[in-house]
Symmetry: C3
Subunit: 421 residues, 3 copies
């Protein structure tokens, strides 16, 4: 079983990747120092959770910051996030050993800097990762300039429009980005879609709290809620109506422009208020895709690729994708992106959802170097599921199992996001 | 481990079955064409979800419908539902190959029709399946005639009485079936129990939405809610009271007639409004057996055998059956009827619920041919759990493990439903 | 894999234990008859659930009670709880066989009585269990006298103070224990902490219902809710405010006295009203750690070690402990204390929580003899996780895996509860 699983992993690893969701900055995709790796919120939040004060992390710099984090991460060597780091330094810097010793940080820091400064670094990470292209997460006012959209595919991220339209800073950004007034939000969104599509955007995305329930307000309700922003009489109910109204305008935009809509469901922001940067959000398991029934019925021609934050909700995702033609399962998000949940959730989806409706994985990475270890984590889980359930359990040939993996990892990304390529 | 598991599967498969819950029509139990198999909602809904328009499915007929579905199901070959189909054509029609090619549909369709037209077909499916009897799901106005109740055991299904008593069509059906007025619902239900028991019914059954909370209304509350139906002044609260009042009358009937009450908890009907026939229902994971505490306390002499729709709720089911003498675990329902959830849920129940209080599996089948592959799916899961947890984990002999399987699969069905046999 | 897992289990079993949560009576820690074992609620509730009437259990005595329970437990031989009993009689009384025959009860009962009456019995159970010390669960009015606090470490249990302050019996107990009036609850709690700390208490503990949401009331709100108790005008809202106010006073006490606060989240009391003693409580899965966000933010210097009652909530526990520095994962509680959930929950925590923030296990035992089989159950699960995920999956040496187990089982108990030892 282990041999079989290893063989399948090796074969699956040859499939060249298009990473369908990242937070990479296309103008600075790869890391320039070891701290770009260690600054990933997974490490700062784990180190902080394990005892390192926030101010210590925020005040240290350079190799001292690296030592501080590596030292504290000695209490996190069991975590899968730590294993990504080890896999990076082993794969990209030929680091020997399965734990980074504080005594090695000076030399590792220097060696990494040299390698990362090479003008070929970004290309070599692409190559070693077997990566052909990746999706970005672009704010609505991102200029979308200075990069090759064949390798870096834009995606319109819309959280601010839906949940922060009452904030003057967002209203100003809308004005600058579109030349339009924010309260003419219908025209604003239409213009944003035009711009993003013209720049090669292939998806629209949003993250949503566990109690969000998309129900289209009437035009009158929506208008009076927007007016309340201007009048300074905004209530919680107005805020709900504004969010729903804008959300539905985005769904209209996806429909009109044939863009898939990426729903990332379940996050509560700023739960741990004193946490480190990007290490403050958590969730509430009490949510349901039943809240989205009206949306899925209203927009049959929009492909919703859905991420859920909890393993518990994966059965809902599996079942809704099994029934609704326009619901697609998408990756393994954040707090569900650890092997126990990846493996179980992958197994459920492969047992019950048409394979053409599954986006197996995305890295969610902020820096290019993380795509390799995160995809490897997923591929190991996938290899185990294929070995146990399909090759042993159902008597499939290994070739057939790898062909299934191809669709989940690559074929569906092209089919769903890039139908014209 | 795999050998051990295979040996246990082979032994378990010799246990002759009484299937405790199906939707089989006893007057047309077996299929007559390949389309009776392909028309199972699992195939039409998966094909539709994978891209086949509903109208295409509904307008095609005969071998063209079969080709249409088989073609679309090429995108669903990974699903366990597809594996049931393969197991049927392999077991019953000697089909070679692990995928049905569109090019083979003509010949398969013709061969199946010949086999199914043989007057011995039903008996041969019974025999090959090792099936002795099965439970039906009978509407309250089912005449219950024309079949042998030794093989086809009636069960009173009550959803319409509880949730649709305000519908004129249901009121008319009550009148025709009982000769009584619907608003005398107490007498109606008493008469229905008499009729069903006289015809050999061995259970009463109902499916329930996730927010249903059985609390007995007072006689006055119930009467005035029933009156509101007649007066056309029915509110949502009246509807809730009517449902609760009728539900409790059914519980009374189960108590008086010593019938087990089959509760199938968690379904939301018509979530995907434009879905194919029987492919519209889903669920909301936010539910709890805590909602049933009053019922379980009120009716200690009624055996409630309970199905839950979600894997998440299986821990509640396991725990409530571990504590309440009158709660029995029942099978693996619908969206939880896939191997990952069957195996985990079986493991939990075997670890914590007295083995005499577990109904291992029911097929839920609409056609006789599906009982074999669905029970095989379950038996493979059960064999893995017995191999790993009991033979390897606790040092049980294989004979002892198979004896446990016997009780779960067969002994308890007789003990709970057929104590007089 | 099985050999590897067995080897790891053997090594892990050598780690000497401090059991961080039990209900053991230090004045009668070990059992004196077989009925002290069979009287554990796991056996009485399973026997009752399987059909034995409550009055039959309550009216039988001596060896007849033992026979009654053993006879009924023949229907529960599959359960893991039954396997604890077998492990006890095999380990401590050299019982042969993997099931207790009713015919052997007389001799087993007598043999057990002889052994248990030996003055060395308690010490020999400590020794055989590899146990150095254990934590108690002490009511606020426990005299905390007559035992050695090196072996029996006090813990202040606070459910009655938080949820039953309106009961005259509790008010009287407060008066007797502290010499203070109950409505001066601030002074009462300060005095209780002083007393417990002086007696060597190392933790404060409470169990909480699924809908409890700690939010500190204002002083005025709290005072008027306390007054309502005295005036006999207590509403449900007052009760909520009192519970919250007292709960926060306890959190203040933990902060001032540097005691960890043990939160056991999710239980519903007396769900099965007619159940046997301690066999009446269940749960409602609809809960969230999101309810505790304010508390975790308000008290950064208090270590909250948190138990959740459901497997579903373990992902929340894992994630909150991964983000919040003051949240620690704690054991596998009650309805989650069966191998399927222990193994999965352990895996998730080891994948994502710093290993210094995990209390692997506590026995929750009422009698000393249960610590061995319950910890063995946990150690088998832990050995499997270490074998599969760390030694095979990540290439760790067996020594490194055992060193990780040491921290989870022993090191963290000292680090978190006994920093001065």
């Amino acid at each position: 079983m282990q041999d079989l699983s290893d063989r399948l992993f090796a074969e699956i690893s040859k499939i060249r990747l298009i990473d369908p969701h990242t937070h990479i900055n296309p103008l600075a995709a790869a890391s320039t120092t070891l701290n770009d790796l260690l600054g990933y919120h997974y490490y700062t939040e784990l180190a902080h959770s394990a005892g390192l004060p926030k101010h210590a992390i925020e005040s240290a710099k350079g190799v001292e910051l690296a030592k501080l984090l590596i030292k504290q991460l000695e209490t996190c060597t069991n975590t899968v996030q730590y294993s990504w780091l080890i896999e990076i330094v082993q794969s990209f810097f030929n680091y020997q050993g399965d734990q980074i010793e504080v005594g090695h940080v000076d030399s590792l820091f220097a060696a990494a800097e040299v390698k990362m400064k090479a003008p070929t670094w970004t290309d070599s990470v692409f190559e070693k990762t077997g990566l052909e292209a990746l999706f970005l997460t672009n704010d609505f006012d991102d200029p979308l300039e200075g990069f090759d959209t064949k390798h870096y595919i834009p995606c319109l991220r819309t959280d601010d429009l839906v949940f922060k339209l009452d904030q003057p800073s967002v209203q100003n950004r809308i004005g600058k980005a579109t030349g339009l007034e924010w309260h003419g939000i219908e025209a604003v969104i239409q213009k944003l879609f035009e711009k993003f599509v013209a720049k090669g955007a292939k998806a629209c995305a949003i993250s949503l709290p566990p109690d969000f329930e998309p129900i289209r307000p009437t035009a009158t309700e929506f208008r009076s809620a927007l007016d309340a922003i201007g009048l300074g009489t905004l209530t919680a109910e107005h805020k709900r109506v504004v969010a729903n109204g804008v959300f539905y305008l985005l769904a209209d935009g996806c429909e009109a422009n044939r863009l898939p809509f990426d729903l990332m469901i379940g996050v509560r922001r700023s739960v741990y208020e004193q946490g480190v940067y990007q290490g403050q959000d958590l969730f509430d398991q009490r949510t349901s895709l039943y809240l989205y029934r009206q949306l899925f019925n209203d927009k049959p021609s929009v492909t919703f690729f859905v991420s859920v934050l909890t393993h518990g909700q994966n059965q809902e995702l599996t079942s809704y994708a099994w029934i609704f033609p326009n619901v697609v399962t998408s990756g393994h998000w954040w707090y569900s992106n650890i092997p126990i949940y990846i493996e179980a959730d992958t197994r459920a989806r492969l047992e019950a959802v048409p394979f053409t409706k599954q986006i197996g994985y995305y890295s969610d990475a902020y820096k290019l170097e993380f795509i390799l270890p995160k995809f490897n984590m997923y591929r190991r889980c996938l290899a185990r599921v294929l070995a146990q359930d399909f090759v042993i359990g159902r008597g499939w040939s290994e070739e057939r199992a790898v062909a299934l993996a191809y669709e989940i990892l690559r074929g569906n990304v092209e089919r769903i996001f890039l139908p014209n390529i």
